[in-house]
């Protein structure tokens, strides 16, 4: 299921929320679990079995690890981690691996990649976080299958994160007293996330996609498209995270933040403390620090960092452009740490922000194109190889206001003023929120508008 769809908003959500509030405490978690499985099965009627198997296996292995010490404990950890990674690797990376190996040896593999089960990257990482923290004695192995299953499948964060580490949610599983303030804040958060996704991300996405798909795009169009894509990705992802966090709150859960206005970062290091924080946090806690982090000699530190970033890139997609994207950031982070450490803070603030944004925007070109020739062509268009492309002025007129609004919404200003307004003139601020909600619904309805021109014409 998709959050930004009419049947989710107007059927699934009200029904589940209604049942949840009406249910006695002991039934709340089972109810959420069933709803989450229905939610997942709706989009993956077959692969839901894979997810259930993953839950059962990790549940059993988690308890098993906790029961042992020393070598036995370590061996069981390795088995559990390997199993999870094998499943993820098989479903997500089989095609990628065989193609790459084939290309290296000049073979035509004709490998048929399996369709990717939705959310497998997210729930596998959550399962791994649980397993590893059980091993490290940071959490108690969960005896209650329903609670454990709920941790893995909880529908607000199952499909698109944030990646919730088990230790952050362990206590909340059985202790979520009803708090009206939390629930209503969650509702507000949900509305804001929906608006970000539907009003900003989807609309900017139209411009971005049009420019990326136009083989003859000129410089003006390419830049418009790149600004649009930069904002689309942020609003899409952070909007989904907002909806997830908001819905979590409506069920009494507190999830950690995933985004913190990444585009106002003043260095790449800062950027990655604001972007997709749950993913970089996961890689830090479960890969980087176990590998030694930065408490090792320099050459080893460089290796650690580059490994983590290659993996981060690979996590985003089974294609070399994503690995390149990850390594790009890995290298830049090293450069900032070792070469620019004293230089960067001395630059005027404006330059630091421009530097960061430029670097990030370039990275999105790697990210957007899995086909390297198309990516190169787009880079060329950006620097003027395909000419100015003045016809893009029409797109500028059509999307100019939207781009401006989007740009302002990338800063904390909008939320800050809205928040202040809600503390001073609540009738107006709530009206604004309601308007955003209504407009979001209107846009969602229009998405399904599908006039068939030629049947009778």
């Amino acid at each position: 299921m998709v959050f930004s769809s009419l049947y989710f908003l107007f059927l699934f959500l009200p029904v589940v929320l209604g049942l949840y509030y009406a249910a006695p405490r002991v039934l709340k978690n089972p109810l959420l679990l069933i709803a989450s499985i229905v939610f997942y099965a709706w989009g993956e009627p077959i692969y839901v079995i894979l997810m259930i198997l993953s839950i059962l296996i990790n549940y059993v292995l988690g308890l098993d690890i906790a029961r042992h010490e020393g070598v036995g404990r370590k061996v069981r950890l390795i088995v559990a981690v390997a199993l999870n990674l094998l499943v993820l690797g098989f479903f997500k990376y089989y095609g990628f691996v065989t193609e790459t190996v084939g290309a290296l040896f000049g073979l035509e593999t004709g490998a048929v990649a399996l369709p990717l089960p939705i959310g497998i990257s997210f729930y596998t990482f959550q399962a791994l976080s649980y397993i590893i923290d059980v091993y490290r004695d940071k959490v108690t192995a969960q005896r209650d299958l329903i609670s454990f299953a709920l941790y893995i499948t909880m529908f607000p964060q199952l499909i698109a994160g944030p990646i919730v580490q088990y230790k952050d949610i362990e206590a909340q599983m059985h202790h979520r007293p009803f708090d009206l303030l939390q629930v209503t804040s969650g509702a507000e958060r949900f509305i804001l996330g929906l608006a970000k996704k539907v009003l900003l991300a989807n609309t900017l996405g139209q411009l971005a996609t049009a420019m990326q798909g136009d083989a003859k795009v000129g410089m003006l169009g390419a830049w418009l498209g790149l600004f649009a894509y930069t904002m689309q990705i942020y609003f899409d992802f952070s909007g989904y995270s907002d909806m997830a966090i908001g819905m979590g709150a409506m069920f009494g859960f507190t999830f950690l933040e995933n985004f913190n206005y990444p585009y106002i970062a003043d260095s790449i290091t800062d950027f990655w403390r604001r972007w997709h924080m749950s993913l970089s946090g996961w890689f830090r806690d479960y890969v980087y620090i176990p590998m030694g982090g930065n408490r090792v000699r320099t050459w080893r530190h460089i290796l650690n960092l580059l490994t983590v970033w290659a993996l981060t890139g690979l996590w985003h997609g089974a294609s070399w452009n994503f690995v390149l994207w990850g390594l790009y950031y890995g290298v830049l982070l090293l450069v900032e740490k070792y070469l620019l450490k004293d230089f960067l803070p001395r630059l005027p603030r404006a330059l630091r922000h421009i530097y960061t944004l430029a670097v990030v925007m370039v990275s999105w070109v790697f990210f957007a194109f899995t086909d390297p020739s198309a990516g190169l062509r787009y880079f060329g268009a950006l620097v003027g190889v395909s000419g100015l492309g003045a016809e893009a002025v029409y797109s500028l007129l059509n999307y100019g206001v939207l781009l401006l609004i989007g740009g302002i919404c990338c800063t904390p200003l909008v939320y800050k003023y809205y928040r202040r307004l809600s503390e001073k003139i609540p009738y107006i601020s709530s009206l604004l929120a309601i308007l955003a909600l209504l407009l979001s619904v209107a846009f969602l309805v229009h998405d399904t508008f599908n006039p068939f021109l030629y049947f009778r014409f």
Binding site: T184, S185, V393, L397, L439, T448, F457
Partner: protein, 376 residues
């Protein structure tokens, strides 16, 4: 109560009311079967079976069902396009909103392969029919004829380039091209040649184009007088529907010769026979343009009392429908073929109908997308 709390209660309350309210309304209101504006059947509640649930079809159909039957659907759509207009967006769904509420379809130039395919098909047709003259009349659309009405900076030169190339290649292949752009340019100030909310030309546009064809085909039009009959003022066309624009109705005028010859119209698909080129029942529906000829069919036969032995075959799209009143004066037999629906053998039909002339009549938007493999 502190103000922040008040804000949150109102907001959350509104969300809850909206979700619950529309959820209930959705199921309490009866389902609709057809959307006139979208010109398609609306999804009915699908039945879940083991196979449709496991392969995802039920889920997809249910999602469509829920959206298609969503209460106040059309109003939500108007709200969305209205909001977009406020932000300066002048295009939606491939339709551009120009000055004074005029709507235009965005021209999509065909790919090189598609273009070569079509010109090869045209050449093949000409070869196979030998000496029979083949006329090609592909009309420009409103975007090409009235570019000054387009929204600011809209880029649409491609249609002119396409038509130039098309006529050049067709002429090389031996077709007689009829380019109406010059005639349209001369008259466009005095007459509205296209509908404001629909992708078709008006009867005035059809008449202007007909006169060019008559000149090319040497038809005797010297003494013909036409009458103009307004038949509707509430027409809202396809472009308004596609864009989602709440347009007021516009006029439809029928143009036909004052001394129109009696004729019969046969629809081979249904076996129906009528005695008029106009289906006035259609004026009561949303698709009022179907007044002309009742719409589009694979083949239609028109027999008139012209008694001059002249036979015409028209390979057409819907633009031809309102030109029939002018054409039927000059041909005792006209056969219409729509390549988008016709599944038979074109050359068998040509052999059966023995036309003296063949006219390919359409508009640039449709022709650029039509599959002409029928001709091969």
């Amino acid at each position: 109560m502190d103000k922040r709390k008040l804000h949150l209660y109102i907001t959350a309350g509104a969300l809850a009311s909206l979700l619950v309210g529309f959820c209930l309304a959705h199921f309490l209101l009866p389902d609709k079967a057809l959307s006139e504006r979208e010109n398609r059947a609306l999804q009915a509640l699908p039945e879940p079976t083991v196979s449709t649930v496991t392969d995802g079809r039920f889920e997809e159909d249910f999602a469509d069902y829920f959206s298609d039957q969503f209460p106040l659907r059309q109003e939500w759509i108007y709200a969305k396009t209205g909001a977009e207009r406020l932000m300066g967006k002048t295009e939606s769904g491939g339709v551009l909103l120009g000055k004074n509420g005029y709507l235009f379809k965005r021209f999509t130039p065909p790919t090189e392969e598609a273009f070569t395919e079509s010109t090869t098909s045209l050449a093949a047709l000409k070869e196979k029919v030998g000496d029979t003259p083949v006329y090609l009349l592909i009309s420009p659309t409103a975007a090409e004829v009235y570019p000054e009405r387009l929204p600011l900076a809209a880029y649409t030169e491609e249609q002119g380039i396409y038509l130039d190339r098309l006529f050049r290649e067709a002429a090389k292949a031996g077709l007689r091209t009829v380019d109406v752009r010059g005639a349209f340019d001369k008259i466009k100030g005095e007459s509205e040649l296209f509908y404001a909310t629909d992708h078709h030309w008006t009867s005035e546009g059809a008449l202007t184009a007909f006169e060019r064809f008559a000149a090319a085909a040497n038809l005797d039009v010297a003494d013909i007088e036409y009458e103009r009959l307004p038949v509707s003022d509430s027409f809202v066309g396809t472009l308004a529907a596609t864009y989602g624009y709440p347009a007021a109705g516009e006029d439809i005028t029928v143009i036909r010769p004052k001394e129109a010859l009696p004729l019969s119209v046969t629809y081979p698909d249904s076996g129906e026979k009528r005695y008029s080129l106009f289906d006035t029942d259609k004026l009561a529906t949303h698709d009022q343009y179907a007044l002309f000829m009742g719409g589009n069919f694979a083949t239609v036969r028109v027999r008139s009392a012209a008694n001059n032995g002249e036979r015409l075959l028209i390979i057409k799209d819907s633009y031809a429908n309102c030109m029939l009143p002018m054409l039927s004066q000059h041909y005792e037999s006209i056969t219409l073929v729509d390549p988008r629906y016709y599944r038979g053998d074109l050359y068998e039909l040509i052999e059966a109908e023995r036309p003296d002339q063949i006219l390919i009549l359409g508009n640039a938007d449709t022709f650029a997308e039509t599959d002409l493999s029928l001709f091969k």
